[in-house]
Assembly symmetry: C2
Homo-oligomer: 334 residues x 2
Amino acid sequence: MTTLKDVAKAVGVSPSTVSRALADSPLVNRETKARILRAAMELGYERNEVARALVMGISGAVGLIVPDITNPFFSDVARGVSEIADRAGYGVILCNTDGRPDRELSYIRLLRRKRVDGLIVCSATLRASYVSDLAAAAFPYVLVSRLSLEPDAPYVITDDRAGARLAVEHLIDLGHRRIAFIGGPENVQSSRDRMASYLEVLAEHGLPDVSAWRCHTDFTQGAGREAGRRMLSLDEVPSAIFAANDVIALGVLEVAEGLGLPVPGSLSLIGYDDIRYAALPRIQLTTIAQPAVEMGQIAADGLLAAVKAGIAPTLQRVLAPRLVVRSSTAPHSE
Amino acid sequence: MTTLKDVAKAVGVSPSTVSRALADSPLVNRETKARILRAAMELGYERNEVARALVMGISGAVGLIVPDITNPFFSDVARGVSEIADRAGYGVILCNTDGRPDRELSYIRLLRRKRVDGLIVCSATLRASYVSDLAAAAFPYVLVSRLSLEPDAPYVITDDRAGARLAVEHLIDLGHRRIAFIGGPENVQSSRDRMASYLEVLAEHGLPDVSAWRCHTDFTQGAGREAGRRMLSLDEVPSAIFAANDVIALGVLEVAEGLGLPVPGSLSLIGYDDIRYAALPRIQLTTIAQPAVEMGQIAADGLLAAVKAGIAPTLQRVLAPRLVVRSSTAPHSE
DNA sequence: TACAAGACTGCAAACGTTTGGAAGGCGGAT
DNA sequence: ATCCGCCTTCCAAACGTTTGCAGTCTTGTA
């Protein structure tokens, strides 16, 4: 690879002049600048960003930590982050944790060793001690869609309690009284919030809390199938299920139909996230929409702004979830 | 951040000794090594990978260039790449090109400036001159799922002609004779191959090539809707559509049902890729499966092996596509 | 003629590592 | 007593930039 020095030698100037010329500094003569630019082009010079990062103390990259890029919600977030980062000339380093705290931690370490300029974490579990470490080290980061216990961590989330409320109240409005909830992992804040809100709304309407009708599980289709199968083969089967995300809901949909329980005929089903595939005509899943791409954009924006200003990100943004009624929910008739 | 020097000072040795100790070199005394390790721990030392990258000439990162991470096929590939890269301690830098050649080029440049150790490109268009540049510069890269014109580029693909043949022959076996094809972008090799194979199989069976029944478009749902709408409002409407990927197929599915053409009752529909959502009970899209995660893994494996060995990747792997018959295709009855 | 100012350019240090070679100390063999 | 070799450690250069400071040269002014 050709270096600054090579260009300098070719033109007959010092490396520092080349550096300045390429940075378009007013300190260097127009004509020399032109000669340098031409030579750089001819030699196919490409600045070595790692050398630059070393001296400048900035790497031009941010880390993006997600549980699973394969989940449409997170690929949307990634998309949003990537758009903003690109525009600012930053690279995005992608990490999949599968929700495992040990992997989160080792990723964080890797990324910090790589001296990324900031971190976007969509994977935080509740007791993610590394989040406090980040805060303590004044390392720039933003949490997306998942909170940790760190008191004033910067974040971009939607209001999970409000979202869950929308979902459960929608089912109640339709006349359902046997409403089940399939949550995500217990150590994920948003998952707990949705559960809490579910219980709250139930109580407000004088509906009983049946423990067999609620559970925590994983945010995957397989987990949805499993939990769905369990609940739908209960003696007293729920007439509606609120799943903590769309992927789980699709799993439930699968087993419900398999068990001869048409949706929404015999079972109303509502999801969360409004992933793209929830809108398919054959699916038409009623759900709570979260603006995933936008969340990624906002997080990246906030992070990069702070990084550039050399301060810690401060944004704490709570977006409003939105009920999207499609045809996986129907009035309860018995 | 604490540096090697800080640790050295704390222990009372030279930085080089610390460096060797942390690399577990046999050149340093057991006892000193222990002291150094302890001090490093206490000081919270984290090696600066960018400094290391500068001197070692390797960055510990690979670039992954995809058209759109939001497309399940590519998020699966990303997943596969990420798994392998992680295991080897490499970072993955994600780039979305939206299929635009200018963005591909600028990403390649960015990544080369960042001195990534290798590149996995899922986004190559046919005349991607940068691919030849990579080859010329002996820069390690692997093409995934998309070929360029570069003669012996390393790649991991599935046999697109065979896949398309499976699809079209399946439709013909079902008795269809009015078979349409909605392709991807014309400048994408796999897209052209599928088209070519479609025409070939048609000819082999003495079926006419009706130009209104085939087109190139984008690999998106919107494009699928549009093309589908056009073809399904023709005077002579096809009885079966072969879409060049599942995302397009889902778009077609959407408009077909909207136009009162039940699938597979009035229209048989077959896709390509076998994305996760094609298997949903409500969707049950017949399709040609490509092992996306595995393709990512193979590509990353081959790339990293070559990078470590200091040679150019040589793998040219053609995987077999597989027909997955579900219920979006049915015998033609007229 | 001398001097100041301004416009360029070069020198050298710094960023935090790795690593080849030199150097120091020590024990054992001659 | 001398020498050799081994074990351990250090020195210094190198990776490719950026940038404060100092230097040079030109030009205009007193």
